[in-house]
């Protein structure tokens, strides 16, 4: 399973990439692979304020429906509206073209509740066992 260095991860298999005070959010390679072919995503609305680990989106694949949780508190400032028509971008490119939303971070201290790439890798290893 692909893991990108430099990102932070949640145990629900979301990632964030922090640039300045903005976090780009997506789901991990493990998550997209487990879901299978993604057919629908309900994106959050720009402007919405989210708490850390609050539900921000829901995602459907051919076989399942799942919630996506915000890895960090803040305001949604942009969503990847390409996903409305092409949710399969998440399968094809979960760390780049398949990003879900950008969040203006409210509290940088919450980073402490997230995992590094190394820690997330350990979690995945324990799941495979």
């Amino acid at each position: 399973m692909g893991i990108e260095d430099g990102l932070l991860y949640t145990k629900e298999h979301e990632w964030i990439n922090i640039e300045g005070n903005v976090a780009i959010v997506g789901i991990t390679d493990y998550a997209q692979s487990a879901l299978g072919d993604i057919t629908f995503i309900e994106l959050p609305e720009a402007g919405v304020e989210l708490e850390q680990f609050e539900q921000m989106a829901s995602i459907e694949s051919v076989k399942a429906a799942n919630d996506i949780f915000s890895p960090i508190s803040g305001k949604v400032i942009e969503v990847n509206s390409l996903l409305n028509e092409k949710p399969e971008l998440i399968n094809r490119s979960c760390y780049e073209k398949g990003w879900i939303a950008k969040i203006e971070i409210a509290d940088m201290n919450e980073k402490a509740n997230l995992m590094t790439a190394q820690e997330y890798n350990k979690l995945l290893e324990s799941l495979d066992g």
Binding site: F40, E60, K63
Partner: protein, 366 residues
């Protein structure tokens, strides 16, 4: 010894599936491939080219005897006495209360010899039931454990099979014959569950790997799993036993009328006649949504705010790019007057009534 109750059964292709990195899931007591490359890729492969499905989990019974005297005619709901030789006919077996115990296909092998193909769950119980209900003027054999089965489905299926079985061209829709395939005498029928031109091949269980590998040598053919099979069948509006058909759903509710022959006697007929008199409560509807959201099995169906039924099957339709489904609703509700929704109590999806098949460009009868 580790005590594992009811371990999953495996088809002879289990290790082939694992080699191909299939995702294996439990299905009706069997470990089966739900997907290899991905459900949508396998769907496209079947709609546009040709795919092979391992369907060895299905059960096959051989019955020898006259249609009526053997008792077979009474076990199944469809008319069989007038079936031409080497044809197939779809129907069901009911319990005395008129509930559907299984849907099945009857093959007429000769004047007094039949093959019945049933679903994978509880094959032994169904075999016992057949033995109980068949008369002494019959011979019965459950050949499920010696019969492997592959479905080759897709617009190119005839072309790729013709390399191995040149005579395949002669098969019309819902007919079958004996063919020589890789040195074995086997039954191939022109049937399937996808809406595409396709064939079902009944092959010796212990030799099935040879056929599987031979088929996959042809780069035009790719393996497809149960995930794609479910999307393909639902786009055609075909029922799945356990969801759209079951013991608690009357065939009169399930839209099964075409496959019931009320001119003959069959188990469950009396119950159905009573239901006809008193009227059934529900009916099957087919619907599509305007969004890419999928209706799901067990979602509720609402007419405005009133709960009127349950989704029996739902999926994302790759061909329509929107959600489709079927479900049972209260027959007395006027569906045209109100808006229809499916979903949990929150998060409802608006849907509109439509007809099956959802997908209309299948190569089934080409």
């Amino acid at each position: 010894m580790i005590n594992t109750p009811n371990p999953l059964q495996e088809t002879p292709l289990y290790s082939e599936h694992v080699k191909l990195k299939a995702r294996m899931v439990p299905f009706a007591g069997w470990s089966m491939p739900v997907q290899y490359e991905g459900i949508l890729a396998e769907y496209e492969q079947t709609r546009r080219a040709v795919a092979v499905f391992d369907t060895t989990h299905m059960g096959e019974f051989i019955i020898e005897g006259n249609a009526r005297e053997s008792g077979l005619d009474r076990i199944v709901t469809q008319r069989i006495a007038d079936m031409p030789l080497k044809t197939c006919r779809y129907g069901a077996m009911l319990n005395e209360q008129g509930g559907i115990s299984d849907d099945l296909i009857v093959y007429r092998i000769s004047m007094d010899k039949w093959m019945v193909v049933v679903n994978a769950a509880d094959i032994e119980k169904k075999a016992e039931y057949f033995e109980r209900k068949l008369t002494k003027q019959s011979r019965f054999k459950d050949v499920s454990r010696e019969t492997g089965k592959l479905d080759v489905q897709g617009p190119l299926s005839r072309e790729v099979l013709a390399d191995l079985v040149p005579a395949i061209h002669k098969l019309d829709y819902f007919t079958f014959d004996d063919f020589d395939l890789l040195g074995y005498k086997v039954i191939i029928s022109r049937t399937g569950y996808t809406g595409e031109l396709g064939y079902e091949i009944y092959f010796p269980w212990d030799k099935l790997t040879v056929l599987w590998q031979e088929l996959l040598k042809n780069k035009k053919i790719k393996p497809a799993g149960l995930g794609a099979r479910d999307v393909l069948r639902l786009e055609m509006g075909y029922s799945l036993y356990g969801q759209d058909l079951s013991l608690t759903i009357s065939p009169l509710e399930a839209g099964f009328h075409l496959f019931l022959d009320f001119e003959k006697d069959f188990i469950g007929k009396e119950a159905l006649l009573k239901q006809k008199q008193s009227g059934v409560k529900r009916k099957m509807i087919f619907f599509a949504s305007d969004s890419r959201q999928s209706p799901r099995h067990h979602f509720k169906i609402f007419s405005d705010d009133k709960e009127i039924g349950m989704v029996t099957s739902g999926t994302f339709s790759p061909s329509l790019k929107k959600g489709i489904g079927m479900g049972l609703v209260d027959r007395t509700v006027d569906l045209k007057a109100k808006k229809l929704y499916v979903g949990e109590n929150k998060n409802r999806i608006m849907v509109y009534l439509t007809q099956r098949p959802f997908y209309k460009n299948g190569s089934l009868r080409n």
